[in-house]
Symmetry: C3
């Protein structure tokens, strides 16, 4: 079902999906089954309730919608709220949630089951693997890699009245199932190992690991090990 206020170019949209409000879907986008684009925020829901005493109307026409740029792929069961912008050629997995006031750059990948809980900025050429959790106030640069099930937080003493930013700078690598406590800066080119719990800032060009995470080497050494590791496969 597609809102009469939405603009849909030459894109594939599964008949099982729902395009809300004033969403815009550009050329060559593909939107698969059971997807919602432009799902209403709380304000829009409250308007709907106010205007419809019997609640028997369909919500599909409501809201500002989301903007899905050219060549974007959105796989099944994914939900994208209104006021989200997904830029060119970015691919979104199955069962992803992207809440309002979020922008995702070009040529990025958002893995299956990842939750981006609104008010998030993500750069270009970012690869977010499956099942990552990103709450509001997280800022992610360009060329960042985030491993599966990594978890960010935005409150140092939950549940408090103060949510704080975490910044992930360009070229950072974050390992699988790591936990990034709120209010941290992860410096350019640094690496967080799998399973680490990061409780303070990570300096540029370093590799941190453990609980709590500590610097174990420089990025230069990591890259050397990586080259050796990649070459091993050739020698087999």
């Amino acid at each position: 079902m597609i809102s009469s206020r939405a603009v849909v170019k030459n894109a594939y949209i599964s008949s099982t999906s729902r395009i809300y409000g004033r969403s815009i879907i550009e050329n060559n986008a593909m939107i698969f089954d059971y997807v919602e684009i432009g799902f209403p925020t709380r304000d829009t829901l409250e308007n709907f309730v106010r205007e419809n005493i019997s609640l028997r109307k369909d919500l599909i026409e409501y809201g500002e919608g989301a903007k899905v740029d050219q060549g974007v792929i959105i796989r099944s069961h994914t939900v994208i709220y209104e006021k989200v912008h997904i830029q060119e050629n970015t691919r979104v997995g199955h069962n992803v949630l992207i809440r309002e006031n979020t922008r995702i750059g070009k040529n990025s990948v958002i893995g299956t089951g990842t939750i981006i809980d609104g008010e998030v900025l993500i750069g270009d050429n970012v690869s977010i693997q499956s099942g990552v959790y990103i709450p509001p106030k997280i800022i992610i640069g360009n060329n960042v890699f985030i491993g599966p099930r990594a978890v960010f937080t935005n409150d140092r003493y939950p549940p408090s009245r103060r949510l704080i930013e975490t910044v992930v700078e360009d070229n950072v690598v974050i390992g699988a199932n790591s936990t990034i406590v709120a209010g941290i800066r992860i410096g350019r080119n640094s690496v967080v190992a799998a399973g680490a719990v990061v409780v303070r800032d990570v300096p540029e060009n370093t590799v941190v690991a453990g609980v709590p995470a500590r610097v174990i080497m420089y990025r230069e050494e990591y890259d050397k090990k990586k080259s050796l590791y990649e070459r091993e496969s050739l020698s087999r």
Copy 2:
């Protein structure tokens, strides 16, 4: 699709959702897209198979259904089994699973992607963030906060024939991506830090952290730090 045996008051129900069996949906509830309410347990499925040799009938009329109280919001892709009761004004995120014989109190929040695997009791004013896993035999009090991706278990030596209770008392805070091993009591007002692995009881009014988790301070100190942290934002 709505079972002819269900009772639906003045509620919003997306045309893409399925209300099974004898479910009851009270006034001002909102049930969004691709949701199932009252999904059948194994016993009900077996009845269905026994009664329908060709399996071409729709399952929608089967089962006891679930009870969704006034003002409850259930977001898209969520599945709620039969014999579940969700009390007034509780809000359930996207893609949540709540299995049978579970009761969730009033004014609580169940975050997106959370799995409540049946036989669970949850109190009032509880905030469960995204992606939490709660197996059978977990009991959660009132005013509890559970951070994203926290994982509970119910078997000390898996896979065994004995599942045991874990009790989370009132006013507890559990941090992101923590692991709570089976058979533990987390005492009133205590705090589990992000990333902790809790393997024994947590005394009341304490804060535990690390792998395995150990007491690092009292709740009083945590609350002082929290006040300072909240005030910091005002002084900026």
Copy 3:
């Protein structure tokens, strides 16, 4: 919606589900709501785009499909790609993703929210709990138990050009929320404790725990403790 090229025996298939391409669904299989069977891989999508300038056609006829054997249960919101084979009596939870070139043996259980990201082999009588992440190149034997939210990886120095195998041998137990780094062999009958981060091979018949994981006892001792634990419940 069912592809005209699919073969469906006497099985229950929800009218809200989609069976793609040349899928085969055997007798007594049950496929619940909002499920996709045989979802197209990238190659198939590219064929579809090449053949359909306007993109207004439905994708349902495309692809090789998946094979779902007798007595298999697939719960709602689950997505199974083409070139997947699920063998007799295996039960798949809600909201599971199983990507291409994967085979899952008989009498196994795949828990809700688990992601099997393609190119994976899983044996018979395997129990994978909720929210587990399994990337390509993981091989899992028979009678394996994997606890909730366990995370496997396949790249030692991400993001690299080399993905490597991890092998989980028969009768292994892997605890909740553990992280298994790439390129590891977890030996027959061994146990990984909840919350462990495994960075090197685990010898047969041992139990490992901690970050990084170290041997803490033999399987024999674990099994003795397990027997005592199971007996405790009887004496109550």
